[in-house]
Amino acid sequence: MTEEPYRWLEAIENRREYVREQIKGGSPVFAASLPDGILLLGVGTGNSKVFELFDRHALAGLGHPADMEKIRQAAIDAAHLEAFTRAPEDVSLRRLVSFGLSPQLKTHFEQIYSAPYLVELLLAEVAAEPGHDLLFRLHFDGAFRYETKGIVLAAGMPDLEKAAQEWLSRNAAEKTERRDLVDLLLQAWWCLIEYKSFTENPPSEEERRAGWRAAANGKVVEIGWLARTSLRLARFETLTLEQIGL
């Protein structure tokens, strides 16, 4: 049956719908380039959303934990093998995504007799200078785009993700302090999980702030920080809300 082209297309479309249905309730994740480094944020259960990959690289994602784990492990394996066989400086997110993760995700998505990966991902690489960072948005089907500055997010619903992206781009331009930025990202996170509109009668700032405080209660706000300069090779550290003054 699937040898017929239209059947194959239908099967692919069904898979796309299936994946989106499965991950639409996932907790969104964010990555933002700041003057001093890259901040990644997710709200989960601790060690479930934001991960260190390599010296200057980190991952944030939503989706099925087992699939997240497979992608995370594949990225860590590839990065460490590259560092060992060449040098740590040769580990590049552009190559890791373009030639590693993206083709694997695409192949897996199009093999219609196996289960697709239920993930939406962000990957970050901190550069020596602001404006040269890499923030990759990688989808479950292998499609990706990247930015060298600003904010990128991954959410379960494409329309809401687009609206949140535009809202954050407008509102985050002046936020260069981690505290202010995390507060704004958590406001966007709350609007996304509560399906609030970013355009028509959006909640007030007070509502958004009270909203994320209440919604994050009992959960772990996972914050990863990739420092732009450090005496150590490994630039990644995890931060708590208390550490950044929230």
Binding site: F51, F54, Q73, I76, D77, H80, L81, F84, A234
Partner: protein, 257 residues
């Protein structure tokens, strides 16, 4: 039937699965004259562990360079000092650096100190063919923080070329100048004042530099310390807060005081 799947978190098994094993053991009988490294030591001081090494590498009676760093930061809580053949020792350091970080990142927890100590023993055992043929001998020192204790305590280990590991209570030394260093450390610990374990950092650094000066008087393969030519040692300290490098400028200052 062998399982090609790597062991979770084990970088060496990942390398084996991808057929890029480190430390290949084949050696030709016509092996070239080896470059060798010489004197390294570590001792407990008041705040933690000081690990130091001279910077000379020799090949027979030739001095190859006086700018080798033989004390290597493996990760945020462990140090390695190499004595023996640098080609093998540096490769061991690289394997350990990648392995420890790989485990920490993939398993979302750091490797325990006993596992780190055994990882180096395993590399030494895998180097046995080269050791038995008289080339590629490495006798390292290892220092690591044990996070299982509160506060985290640093420990020193030394090894024999076959991979046996020994916990050093107060100090350890390795390399051709180690006999001199051990004699002085033993004397100072028993009869000296202050004992090395009671020294504050400036005094401990000064003491370490003087140890190397004395060792270089008796061992031509040990590079000395000479402030006039700005020739200093590689010195790193391991405390509860992690690793710190004592740069040449600081060494010069501590030596003057």
């Amino acid at each position: 039937m062998s399982d090609p799947a790597p062991i979770a978190g084990d970088f060496l098994s990942l390398l084996a699965a991808r057929q890029v094993p480190p430390l290949r053991g084949d050696v030709s009988l016509a092996a070239p004259v080896q470059t060798q490294a010489t004197t390294v030591f570590a001792f407990h001081f008041a705040d933690g562990i000081l690990m130091a090494g001279d910077r000379r590498a020799t090949a027979g009676n030739l001095i190859v360079t006086d700018r080798v760093d033989k004390v290597i930061e493996i990760d945020a809580t462990s140090l390695l000092a190499i004595a023996g053949v640098p080609a093998t020792a540096f490769e061991m350091a690289r394997v350990l650096q990648t392995s420890f970080e790989y485990y920490r990142r993939s398993q979302l927890q750091p490797l325990s100190l006993p596992a780190k100590v055994r990882a180096l023993a395993r590399l030494l055992r895998e180097n046995l063919p080269l050791t038995m043929q008289g080339v590629g001998v490495v006798m390292p020192l290892f220092a690591g923080l044990n996070p299982a204790t509160t506060p985290a305590r640093a420990k020193i280990y030394f090894y024999d070329p076959l991979g046996a590991q020994f916990h050093a209570v107060g100090y350890a030394a390795s390399g051709s100048g180690s006999g001199t260093i051990r004699s002085i450390l033993s004397f100072q610990e028993r009869h000296g004042g202050p004992k090395p374990s009671e020294m504050q950092l400036p005094h401990a650094v000064q003491f370490a530099l003087r140890l190397l000066m004395v060792a270089s008087e008796f061992d031509s393969a040990t590079g000395g310390v000479n402030p006039e030519t700005r020739t200093f040692a590689t010195i790193k300290v391991l405390r509860a807060g992690g690793v710190e490098t004592i740069e040449a400028e600081q060494q010069a200052e501590f030596l003057r005081t």
